[in-house]
Symmetry: C4
Subunit: 384 residues, 4 copies
């Protein structure tokens, strides 16, 4: 679906969550028979939901809770947990700070203290001691040093994550991060991201990534689009990467899960991400809105602390309920932000999909959200 | 009109009411000569409008009034009328409840009392005693037991309705609802829904449905889309099912009417639904806004009472006039929510359509509602 | 550009003013050399602007003023001017009435007094006595009787106008209005409308119409779309009818001007209507906002007075300046509602179009108005 | 991508900044290795940003500052700097004027004093004496006289700019401006504009333009579209002109840079303009919001002073920081209006583009901004 935008410049039409909808067919399956589990390396997870490596979303407590509930939380090894012994007090001070000047306040907190390997080890042990799965993330710049401490402490999953994560990086200043070597040497599965596009995904799979994080500036109106002009809507990004996964799988026999990361706001978006080809999804604000979250009611991105080009601020996400309620209900909101797993099961049931792989084949329609609709659609809630 | 949304994922472009408009041709017919009747089994209805099985829309009084005016109201056999002897008092208590906590209040009212077969019989007899046509609805889970009582009481039309109603249902827990057997054994016409899509519609017709309810999460921005990701815009859904009806009709000689259910807000939407292929439409909030409605000024969906995944709340629909004014005018509003039949006649007149079957052939254009227009379009009201 | 909206239902994509923009080429002409005149029958008009037959837009005074300035105002022979001797007082009373209940107030004023032939004659003579061109309108139902009085009084142009004006009208109740006979017998040019579509336009031209009014429910979000589901965006409607005009012209040698009527809000829309193929445009609210307008600051459509299906109300249009300022400037607003002729000249100049026929060939792009743009486009005002 | 808008009228689909997004590929380059310089004639500029010839954006001080920072500011020779000796006081009086009546106030200030050649010389010498590059602009009407003074004072770059600037101009009143002769005789590079479209661009290049300003009414909802109906979205306009540049380059060996002028609001738009084919961009309001700007916090277009058809007013642009902060950061806003060069470098880095020519090949997607998205896309700020 390529168009000419002008002259010789061509562009593909891309699609975000709000432009598509899922379509039932002639078969419905019982929601109780729906299997939403997925597998990363040799680990099976009961629910296809990961918590993103944001300081406002994941601390050891949240990692333990997510693991108990069948999901996976990723802790950020470049964040406050690895910089401050008493991270919880620092997180609370961010939640308590006035909005005015909060970006500068956050910038200072991250700049003042370096990452400390002993804190990395301590946090991971807190998670492991509770019998939970420990997953952590670092950037290509910090991954090698962080991995050393993390592996020593018994980490289960390692994530290497940057805005645009590729195998190929050219620089006259620093050596290229050796993705393939890192994956090969790591004694645990390495998830790499974020990426978009068929070719970049194939290269990451060939380099040995255990799973791929999909999503670069996915929102239609997000900071990356305003600041950098960059952003691929998530339905297109996910379907592109899923095509790479399927072809790589067919060729090599190795199945590399695709994790859609970014832009997901509700149960409907989770269902659409999987129908677009994802094996699991990564959530940030939705998790940061749990009662158990590190800085209750608030979240901020890692790019907030960037000294010269901050892309983000502290946002109020509110507190919607316990993590268990957010994942399994009961929902006391009807906006799709609670009972995410229940919603996914019901969606899959209605679409006749018994597991994630079948859900990836669900029928999709292009059905744009129009601004003028939705006001008096109360009847839509009628006979459900 | 299939597009590639990414990778190998394809999607059809779909259309809702706000994206299309009807187009006059070279013939106008006198509105007084327009016939808007339709037929269900051996019953002829003067107007192609059904009232939806919502507790806030249909009680015995409304059923009687709709029948007198030539339409058909469907009473919900899983609702308050079948649970409470003094249902009107309970309905009034919902209308009177403060918004805060109203979902929990409604949930309790539905949970506290089971459906009672003697109340089913009583409600239907109230309708029949007034000489009106009695139509009732149940879900696949409750249909068989409810039908027994309903038939005994002399019901005229039975509706089996669920979010996604299909012939095929797979479960390790409960037996499949036997659609074909139920339709065959029922001594009255059985309407089945809700459905979308050619294949599901064909299967329901082959199973013996007397009419099909079309519509699954039809709104562009509705709860089903947010919670489940599911939703088919109604123009596309209706046209798909109408194609199935026409082919089935040609093959078997049996004509199974298509009833568009959900997302209809005004006379324009009714005209578009029929032009898309519907034989009749089902309305909820518009009917709940009648003076005679069970809980004047309010409506709520059945999914509001879902314990773990409520998809809806009590909404204020206001009171726009008597049912007669809503259907036949005079209108004292210009938003298209009153004199629906008058508007449909005038629309058909302008399009040169003498009856519903001709209206199904009306020319349609894709003509999106743009947010920036409509502000100063007063002239559009000019020379009408 | 036909799409399948579902099943076997097809629909053309249509376009309104806000979705297109005009594109300069390699030639600019001096605005002073631009000729914006057009011809109706044997009458030449200096500017391609007509005032619509709304009681809030045209009284004899306005007709005289428009004629002096080179345009043409159409007076409504079914309106207050033909019902009340002291129409100005009645108009003032509408302007003074509180908004609450104004529709009923207007309905009564139109219902209480019948149209009086002697008032028709009086109004036309007022216009003719001032040396101005007199144009009047009636509906098919009232045209024959009104025309008798109008012709007697020396009218110059007669307009037969209804929501959908076609040659063919089928009725068991009333005889068809004989368009061809009426045009043939009238001693003056007869403009007929409103119409859309190639075939309907061809038939009206063959019936002898001197010009065609184009536009049925043209707004994207207008009352006709909400109430009737009917509405054709004006760029598409104009281009369709212009194609009929050009083919009819080629075949018969008779050139029948196309007048775009409805949905025009500013100078940009006028330019686009002509670029889509129009020979002239008809304006309502924009003219009703003149200081000289009959009910300064207000307008209302004829359908407002419909007893059972009112489609409109009294709207506040404000007072933007004298008619001369609205047409020729100077503008003291930058929203494109003043100096309409100056704007059209500058637009044609920039597009290299020396006259209306060349402007009809101007290059057009599909360039949707996006809600998110336009906020900080101040630079667009920069180097003009 | 031509569509039929109706009848025989065809139109190309065009694209603006908000409808496209840039797409990373499998290569990332180090931002420190990115080269954003461009060349005009024999002059190399370190950053591809020009300040527009608005009185609210450029005075000699700003020209000096821009030059020091590697960019180029264009001073308007028809503006206040060339009319008033104490221009700074006049500019301050505009900033201080109440909004009510400000258009008339500005109109009088421009009308009261003619352009004075000695002031032209004085301003340019102020810039040259500071060792900066001096660029000035005039319209075709004033260019010849202004150029004489400017060249005498040692100007480095001359800009001839009008709303639609073409080689061909037909007039019965005034002689055509001899573009080719002017370019040939000028001892300095002459930038010409504004233009859109392949053919017009080719003709300007053949006439000897040293660079082309691209952009005519580029905003989707801008005054030119409302008043004149004219406006080409900038992505399409830029790509069209870039195609002309590349073909002309291939044929003649002369490379004529394309400068996208208008509608650019943030770093993302700059990246998109270059990815569409531009060599540099021209900014107005963004520069007028610098602390050093002539009328701090305000801007107004030249068309504001038009006596009969004002297209613009004085707008409040605010003060976002020093020019250096706007261009090179640090940003203390996350809306993409600060650290524009840093953002461009990071964007190019993420897209694997080492220089402007490579950035012109960046992959682009059509990815519309939807009104319903962007609310809860905080996660998009997450892992950047």
């Amino acid at each position: 679906m390529e168009v000419v935008v002008g002259g010789n410049k061509r562009a593909r039409r891309s699609y975000g969550f709000d432009e598509v909808a899922l379509v039932p067919g002639p078969l419905v399956v019982d929601a109780r028979d729906v299997d939403v589990s997925w597998t990363l390396g040799d680990k099976r997870f009961e629910i296809p939901i990961l918590a993103a490596a944001l300081d406002g979303a994941v601390n050891p407590l949240m990692a333990i809770e997510m693991s108990k509930l069948g999901g996976l939380a990723v802790m950020n090894l470049d964040g406050l947990q690895a910089r401050y012994d008493d991270a919880e007090a620092v997180l609370q001070s961010i939640a308590d700070a006035p909005q005015e000047g909060v970006v500068g306040f956050i910038q200072r907190l991250y700049a003042e203290r370096p990452v400390q390997p002993e804190l990395i080890r301590k946090r991971i042990r807190e998670i492991k001691d509770a019998g939970a799965v420990a997953a952590v993330s670092a950037t290509p710049l910090t991954a090698e040093r962080a991995a050393e401490a993390a592996v020593e402490a018994g980490v289960d999953v390692f994530v290497v994550q940057s805005t645009v994560g590729t195998v190929r990086f050219e620089s006259s200043q620093v050596p290229e991060f050796p993705v393939a070597e890192f994956c090969k040497n790591a004694p645990v599965p390495v998830i790499v991201g974020n990426t978009v596009g068929y070719q970049a995904t194939i290269e990451l799979m060939e380099a040995g990534a255990a799973a791929i994080l999909v999503g670069v500036g996915p929102g239609h109106i997000c900071t990356s689009r305003k600041v950098l002009g960059i952003g691929v809507p998530q339905v297109t990004a996910t379907a592109d990467c899923a095509a790479a996964r399927d072809e790589y799988h067919e060729k090599t026999g190795r199945y590399v899960p695709i994790i859609t990361d970014g832009g997901i706001r509700n149960g409907g978006d989770i269902a659409k991400a999987i129908a677009a080809g994802a094996d699991a999804v990564m959530l940030g604000s939705t998790i940061a809105a749990a009662q158990e979250a590190p800085a209750p009611g608030f979240s901020w991105g890692m790019a907030t602390s960037s000294a010269d080009l901050p892309r983000g601020t502290r946002i109020r996400v509110g507190v919607s309920g316990s993590l268990k309620e957010i994942l399994f209900g009961p929902a006391h909101r009807d906006d799709g932000t609670m009972n995410l797993v229940g919603a996914l099961r019901l969606s899959m049931s209605s679409l006749g999909a018994r597991d994630i792989r079948e859900m990836q084949q669900a029928e999709m329609m292009v059905a744009p959200s129009l601004p003028s609709e939705g006001k008096s659609l109360q009847r839509a809630q009628g006979v459900g």
